[in-house]
């Protein structure tokens, strides 16, 4: 476990605060003069924070365990004050810690969501830093460094530069990335649209019985949610859509399709993504996320090489002295840069569902959905669990559910389990899960604009995404994305083709054996 501590001679933090607070001056004087006759140790908690009238330090509550090998989050012990806010996030919001029996088996259970980084008041818990890696790649003239930006970062990054919560900074973000020296700037919205094509086709195939997999289908875009299901509900993994998340689709395409079109050796491509999420750092290093490398016989090449959170990107921009607020808007690069309104709302809870419904309607009826389906209000907003039922001609009522925050996921998952056990027909056809409250806009890698995270900030970011969908993007349907249509024409042929299966779909791991799950929900 690494302690990034101060130089040995430095005054300890508590000592500093003690001097600062003027508390225990006699003690300090005694220590300095060396004439204290006290025993060693035991002078108390930090002043102000813990020297309360009561003799029991109620504010000291312990913390979550973090594996030193955790690919997403890390902690600086020096900063930790044992306030227990991380437990609040992990146990109450995410129902991860405390939901397994002790003794533990062989894992420090964590779904890498990073919610604890948002709650930690001292900034002791942070994401595992990938910025060094990226700066190194950018400085290497032999590497072609590409970057993708997730839907949710464009409505949050500005907050790091003093802009109001929810400011739309899509164009400035592209400009900043170009200024940082990336060779190509792509939009994860492109693969969000692609995800809809694959996941939507899979849903249709499940509904029609063409694919022998059970309903409801679960969305698979949120890697924290996926790992949660692998740990606590491995019996339901068959329900998970096999479609990779947009980040991983982009990674796989960049080192295959894009490399081919541009005539670049995939081994010379360094692929970065800007994400609102710490679990993406974990996702990109899952052993199976090397599809492009496997295709060319180099399985050691990973599809995505580094994941930068919104906060880390802000740091990079600040480090390079770029005046973010003064940048003028720039455009994403073509081939993998087009996105629709359906894709941009992936960044919020309910968005994947709404986008999928728009295109599923088209895939089934071969007609674009009616206007009412372009504003699916029942699945919008910050409620933890939402439901809707829609009429799709030729199919009948399609029942969907949306949940965000893993404690809410449990409610729906327990319902699915109960249905299965009772032999009832499924309550839903399609369920969207997002690990973080509010979806990616509230992701564990987003700016810490309020502590603990507040719904007003989430709402501002969410509103901006819907505004972009309704007013700023020309197209609102994934199946109308021209670059997506091109990639099917030039490369994949059609959704769920053999090549698409190879590059865009994945398999899951039963992690149930690493813990004894408790049923507390």
């Amino acid at each position: 476990m690494e302690n990034r501590s101060a130089k040995p001679q430095s005054l300890s933090r508590r000592g500093f605060l003690k001097v600062l607070g003027g508390a225990g001056l006699a003690g300090v004087a005694a220590t300095i003069t060396g004439c204290s006759t006290d025993q060693a140790g035991g002078k108390g908690w930090m002043p102000q924070q813990y020297q309360v009238a009561s003799s029991w330090p109620v504010q000291v509550r312990g913390r979550v365990p973090i594996d030193p090998a955790n690919p997403s989050i890390t902690r600086d012990d020096k900063k930790c004050i044992l306030c227990g806010q991380c437990i609040e996030a992990c146990e109450r919001v995410q129902t991860v810690m405390g939901y397994y029996e002790l003794p533990i088996k062989d894992d420090i259970v964590c779904v890498n969501c990073g919610q604890c980084t948002l709650w930690c008041p001292t900034g002791a818990i942070t994401e595992v830093d990938h910025t060094e890696r990226v700066f190194k790649a950018l400085a290497d003239p032999n590497l072609h460094v590409v970057v993708q930006t997730a839907p949710a970062t464009r409505v949050a990054l500005g907050e790091e530069f003093g802009m109001p919560a929810g400011s739309v900074v899509e164009g400035k973000q592209v400009a900043a990335l170009k200024a940082l020296g990336f060779d190509a700037v792509f939009d994860t919205n492109f693969t969000a649209d692609l995800t809809i094509m694959e996941e939507g086709s899979e849903l249709v195939a499940r509904v029609t019985g063409e694919l022998k997999k059970p309903l409801p289908q679960f969305t698979s875009c949120s890697p924290g949610w996926v790992k949660f299901c692998e740990y606590y509900y491995p019996d339901l993994l068959e329900h998970m859509s096999s479609a990779k998340s947009p980040q991983q689709m982009m990674g796989a395409i960049v080192k295959s399709y894009y490399a081919k079109q541009k005539g670049i050796d995939p081994q010379k491509i360094f692929s970065v993504s800007i994400m609102p999420c710490t679990a993406k750092k974990y996702e990109c290093q899952r052993p199976e996320m090397n599809s492009a490398g496997k295709m060319i016989g180099k399985p050691e090449i990973m599809d995505v090489d580094a994941v930068i959170t919104t906060r880390e990107l802000a740091n990079m921009i600040k480090q390079k002295g770029i005046d973010f607020t003064q940048l003028s808007d720039e455009q994403y690069d073509s081939m993998l840069g087009e996105g629709t309104g359906a894709a941009v709302i992936f960044g919020t809870t309910g968005g994947v569902m709404e986008a999928a419904v728009r295109s599923a309607y088209f895939l089934i009826t071969k007609q674009n959905p009616p206007d009412a389906l372009l504003s699916l209000t029942p699945v919008r907003g910050l409620n933890g669990v939402k439901e809707a039922s829609l009429e799709i001609p030729g199919v009948g009522p399609v029942k969907v559910a949306v949940c965000s925050g893993l404690s809410n996921a449990r409610k729906i998952l327990d319902q699915v389990r109960a249905d299965l056990k009772a032999g009832n027909p499924p309550s839903y056809h399609f369920i969207e899960f997002m690990s973080c409250p509010g979806g990616c806009i509230g992701g564990g890698g987003q700016p810490r604009t309020s502590l603990p995270p507040s719904d007003s900030v989430r709402q501002a970011r969410l509103d901006s995404l819907y505004t972009m969908d309704a007013k700023m993007y020309k197209k609102r349907l994934s199946h109308e994305n021209q670059e997506v249509l091109d990639i099917y024409k030039n490369f994949f042929e059609h959704p769920m083709s053999h090549l698409a299966e190879e590059l865009l779909h994945t398999v899951y791991t039963d992690r149930g054996k690493h813990l004894t799950a408790k049923n507390k929900a």
């Binding site: 476990m1 690494e2 302690n3 990034r4 501590s5 101060a6 040995p8 300890s12 508590r14 000592g15 003690k18 060396g34 004439c35 204290s36 006759t37 006290d38 025993q39 060693a40 140790g41 035991g42 002078k43 108390g44 908690w45 930090m46 003799s55 029991w56 330090p57 000291v60 509550r61 312990g62 913390r63 979550v64 365990p65 973090i66 030193p68 012990d77 020096k78 930790c80 004050i81 044992l82 227990g84 437990i87 810690m97 002790l102 003794p103 533990i104 088996k105 062989d106 894992d107 420090i108």
Partner: protein, 261 residues
């Protein structure tokens, strides 16, 4: 009545809260090169680390399991360290803790040799080095509060209370659950300790010394030290001289070691 702590090692999740609590309460430095958590090779008790949590991977039921073991001074019933100290810098209190008074210490480090658990450490990095070890937060214990580490554990690893009560609890826990090793570590070791441990994997696999007899080691050291009062004064003078000499020598020795690291 003497207080004690019962540690149920099966419940530890390795969060390290206890190690941070110890640093916060006792105002101790975090050192880069001295982690408080990790495998036994890297997380070691030191003058700055009065407690550490060591990670072990252990073969169990045809598989591997992870276990974490918090280590600190065990606060012996009849402490060898205190017996070895003619300067009375180490004293066992009525309440249970074995505490250290720096102003009495001459730096002879007999306690380090005497302790069967290899607990007391020397402040190699200080100009006027002292011996250093867990105090069981005796200032808290005196007020009826649990030690700092004990009060922060979010996983319910510790029980704090009368040692005799805890021993009874421990025995009933292991009697009711056959997955525990049927032994309470600290009941008899070195004549008994204030900290008691129960575990579902053998103690020696968690780095606990199991070759310690049940006779308090102080019995031997009392014999050995029974003439010390007579020579204490002269020894004191000699030792004070040696103190600075050794300090220098050890600083040099440590620098050598650092080069190797």
């Amino acid at each position: 009545m003497a207080k004690g702590v019962l540690v149920d090692l099966t419940k530890c999740i390795g969060c390290g809260s206890c190690t941070v609590a110890c640093k916060l309460w006792n105002d101790m430095k975090f050192q880069d090169n001295e982690p408080t958590m990790g495998p036994v090779e890297i997380a070691k008790l030191s003058a700055n680390n009065w407690t550490v949590v060591q990670y072990y991977e252990i073969a169990k039921d045809d598989g591997k399991v992870w276990r974490f073991a918090k280590k600190q001074c065990l606060h012996c019933q009849d402490p060898a360290c205190a017996s070895a100290c003619f300067a009375k810098a180490l004293q066992k209190t009525e309440a249970g803790p074995v505490i250290y008074y720096p102003h009495l210490c001459v730096g002879c480090r007999y306690c380090m040799i005497a302790c069967p658990f290899n607990i007391p450490k020397y402040e190699w990095d200080k100009t006027f080095p002292l011996v250093s070890k867990c105090q069981m937060c005796s200032t808290k214990v005196e007020k009826g509060e649990a030690p700092a580490c004990v009060s922060v554990c979010p996983a319910g690893v510790f029980q704090y209370g009368e040692r005799e009560e805890l021993l009874k609890n421990a025995k009933s826990i292991i009697a009711q659950n056959s997955s525990y090793v049927q032994e309470v570590y600290g009941e008899k070791q070195a004549g008994g300790t204030s900290w008691l441990y129960i575990s579902d994997v053998p103690f020696e696999q968690l780095g606990f010394r199991t070759d310690i007899g049940t006779i308090p080691l102080s019995t031997y050291s009392h014999n050995f030290l029974k003439y010390t009062p007579v020579v204490a004064v002269s020894w004191g003078i000699i030792l004070t001289g040696l103190y600075h000499y050794t300090k220098r020598r050890n600083t040099i020795a440590k620098e050598d070691k650092n080069v190797k690291l």
